[in-house]
Structure formats: structure tokens, C-alpha cells
Symmetry: none
Subunit: 152 residues, 2 copies
């Protein structure tokens, strides 16, 4: 299982391309084809899955019963916008327009590791998110998440 670490900046050019930072590229298994799936994130960001991370998720979803309306709704929402992308000869990825819009990406973006995938944020949005966090609120959150026994 791949897992990423780190946070890198990049810029989107006029055509909607950005360079996958060398830091992440090094973390990809070298046998990995340069193939990814990019999707809307749950928050106002995008999620970039190397194909190896995406496949098992897709596999699970594909086995659900299509005649269940909730399944259809779930799939529609979850798969919406998911797009396969590929590194170009210069190591860049092309962002689909609708996804750029979803995440309100401008020129500067931040790529953040999220376990087996990478989140893509507009630089300012990401900064706002961070600034809104004090070390106390972080500490409380950490305790809630890491110490589930307290949650009852």
C-alpha cells in the first residue's frame, strides 16, 4: 500500500496543468504507470489517487446492487467528476475544468498527503483552513479522534 508524506506547492498554468512535485513523484513506486484518478474531495479540494489506491475502492463500489436507489445516489455523488489522468512528458497533470471550478483553484495550489492519496488545495483556501485552527482546538480534536473511548 502506497502512502504519502509531505506538503508541496505547485502552480496551475493557463491550460490547467500542474507539475507533480518531485517530492511526491519520488514516493511513487517506480513500476507504477504514471496514471492517476482525480476526483472531487469531500471538502472544497480535489483528491488525487494513484491507480493502485483507486482500484480497490472502485472495485468495492462496483459490487453494490445497482437496483438499490441509494446505491445509485451514492455512486453518482462519489464518482461524479472522477477522471483518469496521466502524466505528460514533462511530468505534469491536466486538471479537468469542472474540477478546477469545484476546488476554486487559482494559480497557486498546495498538494498535501492524505495517506494513500493526495489532496489538492487552492493555496489561499488551505491557508485559511490552517489559520482557523489554534493549537488548542487541534489538541481537542486530536484527543477526540485518537481516543475513541471518550466519544460516548
Amino acid at each position: 500500500m502506497i502512502s504519502f508524506l509531505g506538503e508541496y506547492e505547485s502552480t496551475v498554468d493557463a491550460k490547467g496543468r500542474f507539475l507533480l512535485p518531485a517530492g511526491f513523484k519520488k514516493q511513487l513506486p517506480q513500476d507504477a504507470a504514471a496514471q492517476f484518478v482525480i476526483n472531487r474531495g469531500f471538502e472544497k479540494c480535489l483528491t488525487l489517487y494513484p491507480l493502485q489506491s483507486w482500484n480497490p475502492i472502485f472495485e468495492t463500489i462496483s459490487q453494490l446492487n445497482d437496483f438499490d436507489p441509494k446505491v445509485r445516489e451514492f455512486r453518482r455523488y462519489f464518482l461524479n467528476g472522477a477522471t483518469q489522468v496521466e502524466l505528460d512528458s514533462a511530468g505534469r497533470l491536466l486538471l479537468p475544468k469542472n474540477l478546477i471550478e469545484h476546488a476554486s483553484l487559482d494559480k497557486d495550489i498546495v498538494l498535501v498527503s492524505a495517506m494513500n492519496k493526495i489532496e489538492i488545495w487552492d493555496k489561499n483556501k488551505y491557508k485559511e483552513f490552517f489559520d482557523s485552527f489554534t493549537s488548542e482546538s487541534f489538541s481537542i480534536l486530536a484527543n477526540e479522534v485518537m481516543n475513541p473511548k471518550l466519544n460516548n
Copy 2:
């Protein structure tokens, strides 16, 4: 088994034709004849099946017991409106009028992957569907769908 990924926009022209977006066309097996079956969706949308996806479904339905009135009813609903369509030389599909009506398609449409088939939505309807989702309601839905054991 074919499976699609992505979400693309297209427009229906005055004659009821729309261009199958290049993104989807690339995902079709190249040996696939340019043949499709288009049908009413369960929701207010249309469903576009490449012939390979349609055939097994049709096969299943044809094996249901014809003496069961519910089967007859289901078939009537499900099969009526199913129409075979073919790409024209410019890569467009012609939408039957009754289906355009069913999905209230106007000029702008959105084509969305739904595993082995493609859903066709009126752009505004699709947006409404989306906007009606909050990240919480999605979390609940996801939990219901992905964790069937909880549903008893």
C-alpha cells in the same frame, strides 16, 4: 466488463443530437461497434448502455417468469423507451423525442459515468441533485450503502 469514469458536458442541437464526449469515446473498447441502447433512467435522466453492457441485462430480464404479473409490469416499464442508437459519422447520437421529454433535456446536458453505463442529465437538474447534498448527508448515505450490516 467496460466501466466508465468521468463527467462531461455536451449540448443537444436543434435536431436532438449530441456529441459523445471524447472522454467517453476513449473509454469504449475500440472493437466495440458504435452501438448503444438508450433508455429511461430510474431517476429523471436517461441511461446509455454500450451494447456490451445492455446484452447481459436484457438476457437476465428475458429469463424472468412471464406468468408473473409483476414481471410483465416491470418489463413494460423498463423496456418501453429502450431504443437502439448508433453514432453518426461525426460521433453524435440522436436522442428519441420521447426520451428527451422524459428527462426534460434542454440544450445543455451532462453525461455522467455510472459504472458500466452512462447517465444523461439535464445540466440544471444535475446541478440541483448535487446542491441538495451536504457533506453530512453524504456521509450518512455512504455509511448506509457501504456498511450494509448496519441496515437491519
